[in-house]
Amino acid sequence: GAGVSQTPSNKVTEKGKYVELRCDPISGHTALYWYRQSLGQGPEFLIYFQGTGAADDSGLPNDRFFAVRPEGSVSTLKIQRTERGDSAVYLCASSSYVGSNEQFFGPGTRLTVL
């Protein structure tokens, strides 16, 4: 079956602009996670959803970052007033339920802020 997909694959934007990054989880997976991976580093947790609600958003760096999952499937990570330091690969993962220990990752979106 289809894995986790993320669009766009690459996004280049200018400082101060607004961007949206999309994640399509594996069909039927109720838990969805966002991570940010800076160059040469390991991924860092941002937020995760159980269904439509954000169960833990403790990793969001500041209030410029926001994520939604209105129908419990597709999720959008939104970044306002982008800064050069936001440049990273944004990874999405899903699992069949929050208590599952196996997360399936998408290929990520590489965001470059000029």
């Binding site: 580093q41 833990d56 929050v98 590489r110």
Partner: protein, 119 residues
Amino acid sequence: AQTVTQSQPEMSVQEAETVTLSCTYDTSENNYYLFWYKQPPSRQMILVIRQEAYKQQNATENRFSVNFQKAAKSFSLKISDSQLGDTAMYFCAFMPANAGGTSYGKLTFGQGTILTVHP
């Protein structure tokens, strides 16, 4: 809070040989899962192997095995008969869990080790 440390930024090995990647972690959790993930240049994070802290026996998956030392908080990955396709960044990761094995979801990753397999 948990921390995961990978002290080897880069490793290299000849094809068909064995290599060991190191990982240490710090936690106050009683139960948890440990993982090794592989990330090739395609960026896709692929699960290599996992270990539950309550299980004494070291996990193995074909050519991949771990040496889990709970008291020392050490979790190394051994790759036997290395293949060119093993070339990738490898991440050690931690996930807390309750006594029944239900995980608490979010992963904490180490900084990664770049492994290069030479022909």
